[in-house]
Subunit: 217 residues, 4 copies
DNA sequence: TATGAATGAGTGTTCATTCAT
DNA sequence: AATGAATGAACACTCATTCAT
């Protein structure tokens, strides 16, 4: 008997086909950007007829948006799983910094996709309703975390939660995306394991010094 | 007589032709990236025959490298002009942070070019001799600045100058390049003047808190 | 119980399904021609599965022929209803001219379908048995009309009934199908109501002058 | 020596290339209409690289307009050569009727192109400045001809010159473009030489009867 | 040094038709 | 009888680069 669960290519299973297209598209868009990505390549990798891609997603740009939405959903979901609300403020902040670093490190495709979208001035994301609703609990979470820290006396007052998260993201994102030119400039491989570890510690140090009332680190 | 100073298009002036090509190419590469840039568009804007572009620069990728080298030279030269060595350490550091922010803000093409190059894993820059030699005084300058601050007792010990500069760059670069998706996520225009000012202050605050011995800000 | 009279989509009613397909196809073929018509669009409009279209009509070209046959049947039936045999020759001829003009005016899809078929050199119609049999009474009718007029002394002798009908059709068809380019050439909108009326009168005048023994118009 | 006049493909001669493209395009558009025409086929027939087609004409639709403009220019130029102003009114009118018929007969591509353009509601022609200016002397010529005939007492008063020319065109155009379906309906080949001659005479008769004061034909 | 003409491989997208259920 | 999934060939248009003068 031919099993429906055969991994490579379950015939006539719309949901599975959709998923295969999304997966292949994420890979291709991350590797080559929106313009550089090849629809043919996506179709080949997804083992579908190119036509299906248009049936399921409309066109290349809409497919890109779908990929982007999924990528944002993935990181926000993973963040939720940290249950930062159940941790002490300092622990929670440290956990968030580390999570962000390691998520960026392990998901370079997320960085590339976000990068691509910004090169297009968020043209696609602006049209997305999902994105906005997906981020309101996230924004609230950071705000709550800071408030709790201030309340327990460990965090300074007056820190803008948005600026803080942007900084946490920035310190990791920039290093990881720009480590290639930086490696040329500094004449050493900033992508090597020890260098990566150094960077992570530098980030933790910088953020905590900024937030903690008395950073006796 | 044909004047060398005739602005629009001095015939048969190799240096001027080269400059016009570089200027047009910088614009085009910054706007559309390496793959998206059009050789025809560059030639049209530079008011030269497309063939000349190949005579002067070999091919599209070599032209991209030339543009990139010039862009790096420009920012490093502007940095040199700050004469940070003549300022007190704290003033010098503040000046560097501000310079970096405003340079990024006023030269989005620099950010785009660096971004493009990193998408290609610094493939072009690696082949460049100019880049490396151009950065050694820059790296030294940051190191000297930190040492002076430590010596005068205003900066903490043990700060890695490379990490520090990367952080200064990161905090501005990430915000400016990613402000489009961030604006969608936060539901407000992070590119507006007040938001830009808020960000600059947040960056200064964060860096100084990290470096200063007792940040009584 | 499922009613046969349910308007929107009576399930499993072969005759009704066939009609819905034909109606949607007529619209689509008239609007976009044979090549331009989209099978998907026809299926969507007919609210049927695309596959059914092939079950009922074989393929796109056979469907086109079915549409065409129906369109010819419609105009010939409407003509029969004029009962020209019951009118005086002059009245009958005038009625035929007016009918032809207004039918063309109110059924642009008929003109478009005939036009499409001629672009294909009547490839489909040639295979149709229905068309030939459907036209023999029509041809006879025009002939009889002329004979009666000659017999009663109002029409000239020697008029070829086929040429006459072709002229009647031509004078209206050409104006209506080509009014777009003609409007550009003459610099005014030949599709406006007054222009349409002018044209109708010019046609009646021309045909009657050609047929009547002494056209004291 | 290699001659520049070598017919098949004079290399690097822009004007000749342009002409070859136009010629091939006219053929292809006439045969298959705007949508049905294949850019590849045009390029192959013109023995050019497809890219040149876009360099010279922008895109398929602009090429279509260029073809259309040329086709109109050709017939209007040929009409001018009749020097109708130098003939007696009746002779001139007869010459115009015959010319129109034979031009349509010998240039089926003109009929097809005009037909295509009307299927698109003269979308392209509306954008053309050339067309309008090219037709004002033509419109004037027909008007003058009628006036002269009225002045010399051979033509009736009150004939609208535009309606008259439209009728002359209609009587030939409709027959020639629709002779395929008409042949099926009448059961004989209306494209055969004797049938064509019959039609031409019927047209001349009809037009003259309409215009002449006392048509003693 | 400089030019305008030319190329060929490749892009995203579309479509009538058939398959599997 | 009816459906949703799938196909493969084609289409208009683009691009970096080279040729001929």
């Amino acid at each position: 008997m031919t099993s429906k669960n055969a991994k490579p290519k379950p015939a006539r299973d719309a949901a599975a086909t959709r998923k295969r297209i999304l997966k292949a598209a994420k890979r291709e868009f991350a590797m080559k950007g929106l313009a550089g990505a090849r629809v043919d390549e996506i179709a080949d990798r997804a083992e579908i007829n190119k036509r299906m891609l248009y049936v399921y997603f409309g066109n290349k740009e809409d497919l890109f948006l779908a990929v982007l939405e999924e990528a944002y959903a993935d990181i926000r979901n993973a963040e939720q799983e940290l249950k930062l609300g159940h941790l002490e403020p300092v622990e929670a902040l440290t956990a968030l910094i580390r999570f962000t670093w390691f998520y960026y490190l392990k998901h370079p495709e997320f960085l590339r996709l976000v990068n691509s979208e910004n090169l297009h001035r968020a043209r696609h994301l602006k049209r997305s309703a999902r994105i906005k609703e997906m981020h309101s609990p996230f924004v609230k979470m950071i705000g709550d975390l800071l408030k709790r820290g201030v309340a327990t006396g460990v965090f300074r007052r007056g820190i803008d939660p948005n600026q803080l998260y942007i900084s946490i993201a920035a310190l990791g994102y920039y290093y990881l995306t720009n480590r290639f030119t930086l490696s040329v400039i500094y004449g050493r491989n900033l992508g090597a394991a020890p260098a990566l570890d150094d960077r992570r510690m530098a980030i933790e140090d910088m953020v905590l010094r900024t937030v903690l009332k008395s950073p006796d680190i």
